[in-house]
Amino acid sequence: MRITASRAQPWLRGFLGEWRTALRITATSFRARAQYRGDFITALAMGLAWQTSVLVFATVILTRFPGLGGWTSGGVLLIVAIRLLSHGGFVLVFNSLIMIPYIVQQGALDGYLIRPMPVYRQVLLYTFPLNALGDSFSALLLFAFAIARVHLAWTPLMALYLVAAVIGGVLLEAGIQTFVSILAFRFTMPMAVFMWFDRMIATFGNYPFSILPLAARAFLTYLLPVAFVAYLPAAVLTGRIASTGVPGWLAYASPTAGPLIYILARCAWYRALRRYESVGG
């Protein structure tokens, strides 16, 4: 098969061009946000503070409640680490999803529909996610801290799996919030609903689910699939698949749940967008 250079190049140029446009928009948003001094500093500080306190609490739980279903503190820290980093990644790229009710109410969505850029991408570029800087930065630090405390014999394959798990976690959270944002097309949704999902993932994503009763485990695996973010990948890495109660292949394939749900969510999102009726006025 011959892929002629002339055929590949325009595609490549177009692709790179789109990235350049996205970056330029991001830089402009950053400049716009940076004008508001107090806002900027607050956002950074708060991101840092919140992430640190989550980690502090996770450590506290470990020291006060030993023997979490047979999981060592290292294992639990691995769960926390994966979740923190995927949340950091999520906030960096997908934070503007929670602004969709606002975007719809402002009528900006109508403008997006006639611009030559995919609407979903325009939504993501809506504003520079300031708090993401704080979140992501601290997530990286805490991830490094947690990983150092996990006593595992790391192989390149495991490291690759870890990276896949983090990316899967980012996409899973993005998929969930994308599904939630579909509601905003039809109803005037409070942002609190997004924050609730965020809180649920943040609160319950840090624990090994083997300690929970069946009903809770089933809910968090199949209904609100938090399990796939960090718990199942960590179980695979630490060799505790048996205690998870899910079939082995499902546990191994957990990083693929994220991309799958994300793709489904985006399709549903665009479908809903087509039926979208703009706000009266």
């Binding site: 950053f30 940076a34 001094r37 900027f40 500093i41 005037t188 009266g280 006025g281």
Partner: protein, 327 residues
């Protein structure tokens, strides 16, 4: 002082904004050490509106109209000067002032988006402490011209701009205030609603004797509604008098631009004078003291000249302001 008088003397308002130079480096610098720049929005404005009068405050965007009216409402505290509405200084005595004024701010609605318009009005009724009988009477009266019943059971977010403003007008006059402030109330609305609002205002001024101060940048609005107009530009009043006088002062009027097939040797159209000729393109304006309407002028021009294309241009506010300023 008779009830319903607005007096402003030497009103001044200076804002301090942060300088925002372009570039990422400068943006970061302004994070640490922002530069404050004073901006004079209103510079010594003096006005007087007597009871039962409607004064239009006319000016281009950024002229200081909204700032002035907000100082008259008591929302902004003036940096200098004196203002009295019905003997009360608005920014010092907001509660007492609130009972004697009504306000509508263009494009900003008092209505709660998730409530029906009727529910919003009821909340305001409670806020003003109106008696139910008075409230019902007032609503009936407003309904006559504004036709609120048609849509007031719909949620405010579903109402059109025109419907919302009609509700806001009712809300502003619910407590029967002698003084009404309107800040560009018909901005962005279609002609039908604008005329409806104007009819309502005319009725309120003539029948109920209310004092109305209206800001606008629309010359047509001024022409159709106000006998008195104050022209404000760059924070200063450059003209304060009769509306007709403004036109005469500025010497600006509507113009009809025609394109003719062949230029006749003699151009003589009664009631119109030739202001410009450029080959087949001619421009006409009404003669001094003439009262020819654009519509009749068009008919007359078509009668008298071999017209292939005709266009009527309303006087541009910029022209009026420029001319008035030059005086």
């Amino acid at each position: 002082m008779p009830a319903g008088t607005i007096v402003a003397e030497g009103l001044t308002k200076v804002f301090h904004t942060v300088a925002r130079p372009p570039g990422v480096g400068a943006a970061l610098k302004s994070l640490v050490r922002p530069e404050r720049v004073p901006k004079v929005a209103v510079d010594g404005v003096s006005l007087r509106v007597d009871p039962g009068e409607l004064l239009a405050l006319l000016g281009p965007n950024g002229a200081g109209k909204s700032t002035t009216i907000k100082m008259l409402c008591g929302i902004l505290t003036p940096t200098g000067g004196r203002v009295e509405v019905n003997g009360i200084t608005p920014h010092q005595d907001r509660i007492a002032n609130a009972r004697q004024i009504g306000a509508v701010f263009g494009q900003r609605s008092q209505l709660w988006r998730d409530l029906t318009a009727r529910q919003s009005l009821e909340v305001l009724r409670d806020m003003y402490g109106l008696r139910p009988a008075d409230y019902r009477m007032r609503i009936r009266e407003f309904n006559r011209i504004l036709e609120l019943e048609e849509f007031w059971d719909g949620r405010a977010r579903q109402l059109s701009l025109g419907q919302r403003v009609r509700c806001d007008l009712a809300a502003a006059l619910l407590h029967d205030p002698p003084v009404v402030f309107l800040d560009e109330p018909t901005i962005g609305m279609d002609v039908v609603v604008k005329e409806q609002v104007r009819e309502f205002l005319r009725d309120q001024v003539r029948q109920r004797g209310r004092t109305v101060l209206l800001t606008t940048h629309d010359m047509t609005e001024v022409a159709k509604l106000a006998e008195r107009v104050a022209l404000i530009d760059h924070g200063r009043v450059v003209y304060d008098g009769k509306t007709a006088g403004l036109r005469d002062l500025a010497g600006v009027t509507w113009e009809a631009h025609v394109t003719v097939e062949t230029v006749p040797a003699v151009i003589d159209v009664p009631g119109l004078r030739l202001t410009r000729s450029d080959g087949p393109r001619l421009s006409f304006a009404p003669v001094e003291g003439g009262d020819l309407t654009p519509r009749h002028a068009v008919r007359r021009l078509i009668e008298y000249l071999p017209v292939t294309d005709i266009r009527v241009q309303e006087p541009d506010l910029e022209d009026v302001v420029r001319q008035a300023f030059r005086r």
